[in-house]
Symmetry: C2
Subunit: 212 residues, 2 copies
């Protein structure tokens, strides 16, 4: 029996090393693609500071993330999200002039006005460290998200803000939403985007305190 235990421990150590190697490789890859995107100014401005900090930690990395945005989304065929495309996309407050230019410009199928909250993916090397991310989310008041992948050496957490608006505003050539309504909704969307960015900052400051 003691021999079996010893063999078992040896196997566990081996598995641990394999998991650690896998994590290092994936972290390095994501760190490189983040640094490339940052250098080419392709990374989301509002997300740079948080992702830059995470990239420097030992046990964590970030993958595809978005700081939050206001968009006009085109759905050529109803309900078919695979074919959806950005008609307009903003990562900052939008003016009525910009919005109406976008709504009036030629589009196909259904056009949706959306305020999307931030979405962040963080990778961790262990279950214990994935739990530290969950604890940080909770402390920062991020209510939506969880561990979406849990394998030795690969733990992935997805989290999202809760600020959101989503509504169709145009069908084919026909504009459905009035100027009066969109005046109100755009003002609310801009305010919500600001709150969303403030929430992301709060999350960053918690992570800076709690993660090394």
């Amino acid at each position: 029996m003691m021999k079996n235990i010893a063999l078992n421990l040896k196997g566990k150590r081996k598995a641990k090393i394999i998991a650690e190697n896998r994590f290092s490789m994936v972290k390095k890859m994501h760190k490189n693609s983040f640094e490339k995107a940052a250098a080419e100014k392709k990374a989301d401005g509002q997300m740079l500071s948080l992702c830059g900090f995470i990239a420097k930690t030992r046990h964590f990395f970030t993958s595809s993330s978005c700081a939050g945005r206001i968009i006009l989304l085109q759905l050529p065929k109803d309900e078919n999200k695979q074919q959806a495309s950005f008609h307009r996309k903003w990562h900052m407050a939008v003016s009525e002039q910009e919005l109406w230019e976008g709504i009036k410009a030629k589009s196909r199928g259904e056009l949706w006005f959306k305020l999307d909250p931030f979405i962040l993916h963080i990778g961790a090397n262990s279950m214990a460290n994935a739990n530290r991310i969950l604890a940080g989310m909770k402390k920062a008041g991020v209510k939506r998200g969880g561990i979406i992948v849990a394998k030795p050496g690969k733990y992935l957490i997805e989290m999202q803000g809760t600020q959101s608006i989503a509504m169709p505003v145009k069908k084919g050539k026909k504009i459905l939403a009035s100027e009066q309504l969109m005046h109100y909704i755009l003002q609310r969307a801009n305010k919500k985007l600001e709150k969303n960015y403030a929430h992301l900052k709060r999350l960053e400051s918690v992570f800076r305190e709690e993660l090394e």
Copy 2:
């Protein structure tokens, strides 16, 4: 060293028993409250079959869940979700007459029209079983959700559908959305609710295949 290993194994067995007891207790509690709600017809009709199945499995339970709904949500003060209250709530397709009765009825602050997708919480007794839930979600095409609690004996997975509409329609006494717009949006919301329920059925059939 061998003595330490033996002690360590003994400690692990003890921890395992404690975790198992904790899980049994929590599962029993949630099973009872589900059965009570079902008997009193308080459980969400569209959710009954899925939750009933999960309650009968050995390693899983469900806690607070909603099959999806169309609501009018009242926000007395802008942005303060703590004070939000249901002005109207439907778990089925809504008629224009019902909608407008709700919009025109006296409300305070901002009134939002929302289509909320299903939200489901499943508890599991181990990380391996929590991973089986994640795999089932993936197979059924549920893209949003993950493990939100991961402690020995307590693994909790939250998952949500993606069908969603959210927009303010009234501020104080002032109705902002036109009848023409709401005619279109309500029709879309009813269709999305149907798709949402179909998605929930697909999820149920995957779980019935994959979980014992």
